[in-house]
Point group: D2
Chain length 348, copies 4
């Protein structure tokens, strides 16, 4: 039975996004139990349930040491990388050479413009090959790049903040409704799982609870993705991330000056035109704004907005679960697209 | 002993701001135990400790029915109104007639422009007198209006959101640094105590925890205060309040386009010029942004900022405790100013 | 298609347990879209998505006024009552008369001993019929009463606290391991959704956050269920509920004096003997204690324990999601048993 | 001016309890600005405000490298150790030799019985001296040992859990009301700051939020303190700590079997007899149970109880702030006692 199912592997299932992905894959009707991998010296040799005892006392998910031979033996067709971007940068060339398709959850392959990639400071062993793969990699937002994803060898799964901003912004920019010269402001707020599982002072419960803070002002790595995918120039975007005292979820408040006075109905029409047929974007329009809780544990990106009486100032509210549509859920959606399956498979 | 201390009264000590004020007054070295008042049919006749058992099993703070005779008998000099704005609108004329100075924590007397007051829909019994008092009322932000507060009969204690925005914004607008035409965006986030003690669906724990939401987009009552006090025109301000899953605290992220490129040092100079000698404004500058937790349970308004490399886009972060500098602490500070006392008395 | 699916109805889907049940039923592969019902003067005539906008902007789930004719027209086979116990007490006799099987989530029909029912103060219109139904009603804990549930017309879905205590305690008492004379102490902690959706001072975010409290000490209504189902006498049980500052989840710490010194392996053997074949009870044994988070959004009851070196003092930790195994999940499990389906259907 | 004030030093002010103590000392009217000390290789050479920016942008509190000469130069009279117990064990002998009185916040010197100390595994350089100091050290619960504290050179500040249990339990045991043979059960719940400032997986926000768990069942280090101070034998006490998703605060639910049936009034009489004149113990009696929030940011230990109708089963609820009465507040109270000052000085 399971032999007919898709063979996948996950490197980094001990992290928050990686484990969310593990859970989704374990429930996916067309996917075999994934091969869980870990790098030597870390979790390799342990069991996934040591990190996530909620898997239950009977669970048995060994974390195998990462090894290309093992991937071949198991006939892995899709490799998910929930790893630091340096590691993704290192592993992807060989994976493709081995004929394994990759969905990379890191920021390693998302950026087309070299200037935007600079912030990551990649040191590729084979720069020419890396440049070729940079060009080949497909930005894994199915709502924008479905066709390319379907045929892609390498899908760069989008950043969580970036997804929440690009989804509502891209069609408005494309429709010429945005007065880009006046600047777009993205005031984004994320739950703590976005900061990763490794304990730091910043993620200590006592520092986060009863608190709220801005960080990486004018310096967050998702900026480049938003610029490239929404179609803005560098100084047209102001993006401020904030840390919410909640485990998961993102709400982005996006401030747009319209190029000409518009009615709410026109804004809604553009958004529905772009996403009306989509299964994972919900347009709440301007009657009721989405909240973080609405999309928790789902793969939805929820969008609502309000327009000022002057018809020029548009305030958009966009919400998603940073571990789902912002990471693992979108990765699974991408896999579904790559395999030609229904996008909702394993996600409904 | 207590006869030489200031006699005060608080109407509305059962609410969150009113109780914070009660606590401050009970510890103020120059203030006698306040007269706690309640309107008939509500809390009148009960004890304050029934609502706040943290006062201790030995507490004895009766909530007297509101009565002008009682205020006179007790020789009350300052009356604090922690009441709905309609009630403040009703009571203030007589209080002043009785020779009692008032610090009103509601929005009843904060606005100078009739257009801005419209949102409250006041129905004054004596419209002419109300108009006179509207003109006489002093906006109780001591950092901006210290002298008028000192001599005022009626001090309109500012709104919590408004304080967090006006403090950093007013001196920048005054210095001509703000390109008002491009618009100022205030993305503000508040803890739940700002929504009041009355239980509603919106403040139910299950609705707020793990959640985050925007509300009153383009329609919050504090908008008028910000316009008047910061010196902006109606369509120059976009103000979006959000509800944080924390009991108290506000963080406002304020986006300003500068009228000309500036250096961070100049911004800091303007802010320090305005507040360097102030006891309750802390300028964190652009080295470290303040967080909500820094000012909790204090009367500080903390201000920090970051400037984009283009020197044109300024992102300000401003924090305060909505029950302290945003309500009761500021009310006490106003009382100190009115009495000619050190502003820190009872607040340090 | 849907005509072949089971027709169900839910009265009270606007409450937390009722909505959790609605969500489960909507995803159940063998159940048609349920008929959502509301009593006149409340939610009747509104839409479920007004109360739960997370259903999405396209949702369309009308709340029909409760009406026996409508139940018959729709050929409803199973009626779920997520209602106050007085209302369940009132409606159940007629439902059974109409040939509709009932799963009642309230405390109305859980108790066999009249003395235990006294705490509810029922005033039945037809006392004789009520007494007959009290005797007929099956306590809906499938792990203990599977066979009776399968044939039952009226299933009394257990209380959330009660489930968390009865599951680990019942087999130990039955095995004669518990020194009942020394008393069993159940120190139970629940998230706030257990207190219901109606906003009260007690469930206000500001009262719950950063707080923790005991309540209903020696007076909680679930006491009777525990006594009857675990097999204890009145003065052998001390049960203390506490309110946790989390939306959902229960952890019960249960203190048992053993009738004779035992080894951990024997305790584990008894628990595994009782539940080893169960799909919704997970025995963590004494190697790792379950935590609240492990069973959130699942129908599991997780059980772990530690034994003192004297082999006499046993401390059990039991966790479940109060809206799932503690309410809606268990209700669905009961429905599956009643229909002869796999118990995991719609719950895995 | 400050020369007449008490010279103190704090080693470990970067931890949560140490910083709470720093804040209290900085506001204490009879204490000079403390000397803040750090061990080489850690925080030494940095500023306290780098760890706690809420001190404000103008703060200037250097963390001096720990050095006995410096302590002498500054004529330090009282040294507070907010350090790991091994370090306290190492430093105390010399401190006393230098004539410096010590309040130690660790568990190093709290235990009289060697068997109870075994859990710490101390390896003292001078075992004989250590044993002498073990005997000399005074358990710093002023309500029980006020006179010895007044003259002590070495005060062992009690554990947070231990304080919450000993305060209500000790007078009941002493009064002979407790049926010790039936066992006393302490089900204790603490906020996360009790786990220290060092980030670990256990204190990561995502692991704690929406969660609740028991830990160190039958194995927590505070057990020995409770046994010794409350007057119980080893197998008479079952103590279970739990981790609450709140930053600070403890609630202990204590289950006692009475030696003979008693009335609530008698229990209250015993508690009031013990603490009626105390400034930091509040007896709520059996009318209203204390909650965690009541004593937050105060030095109170709040006690309430309920008695079963059988008059034999007593359930006590005891609350305190683990950083105040459970650590820094109690340390300051001890200092006040040692100096012969009012105990409320700096704590009211």
């Amino acid at each position: 039975m399971s032999g007919q199912k898709l063979q996948t592997a996950v490197l980094g299932a001990t992290g928050y996004a990686g484990f969310e992905l593990a859970r989704l894959l374990l429930k996916h009707p067309k996917v075999a139990t994934p091969l869980f991998l870990a790098r030597a010296g870390e979790a390799a040799g342990k069991q996934l349930e040591e990190f996530y005892p909620e898997l239950g006392p009977q669970a048995n998910y060994p974390l195998e040491p990462f090894d290309w031979e093992l991937l071949k033996q198991r006939a892995v067709k899709v490799l998910f990388l929930a790893t630091p971007h340096e590691l993704s940068r290192e592993l992807v060339p060989q994976a493709l050479q081995e004929g394994i398709r990759v969905v990379d959850l890191s920021g390693a392959w998302r950026l087309k413009a070299e200037a935007n990639r600079a912030v990551y400071g990649f040191t590729d062993a084979d720069a020419a090959l890396a440049a070729k793969l940079d060009a080949e990699a497909v930005y894994g937002l199915p709502e924008l790049h479905r066709e390319e994803i379907a045929g892609a060898r390498l899908v760069a799964n989008p950043g969580c903040y970036a997804t929440s901003v690009i989804v509502p912004l891209a069609p408005l920019v494309k429709a010429g409704l945005v007065d880009r010269k006046r600047g777009v402001i993205c005031d984004c707020k994320s739950g703590v799982s976005g900061a990763g599982k490794k304990p730091t002072q910043k993620t200590h419960f006592v520092e986060v609870a009863d608190n709220f803070s801005a960080y990486s002002v004018f310096g967050h790595r998702h900026t480049g993705e938003i610029l490239e995918q929404a179609g803005l120039d560098d100084d047209e975007l102001t993006f401020t991330p904030h840390l919410l005292p909640i485990p998961r979820g993102i709400l982005s408040t996006i401030y747009v000056s319209l190029a000409r006075p518009a009615a709410a109905a026109e804004i809604e029409r553009v958004l529905r035109g772009a996403y009306g047929a989509e299964g994972f974007v919900r347009i709440y329009g301007n009657k009721h704004l989405p909240q973080v809780s609405y999309s928790l544990h789902t793969n939805f990106c929820d969008v609502g907005f309000e327009l000022a009486r002057d018809g020029r100032r548009l305030t958009i509210v966009s919400c998603l679960d940073n571990l789902m549509k912002g990471a693992a859920g979108q990765a699974l959606q991408n896999m579904n697209v790559m395999l030609g399956w229904s996008e909702k498979e394993g996600l409904a």
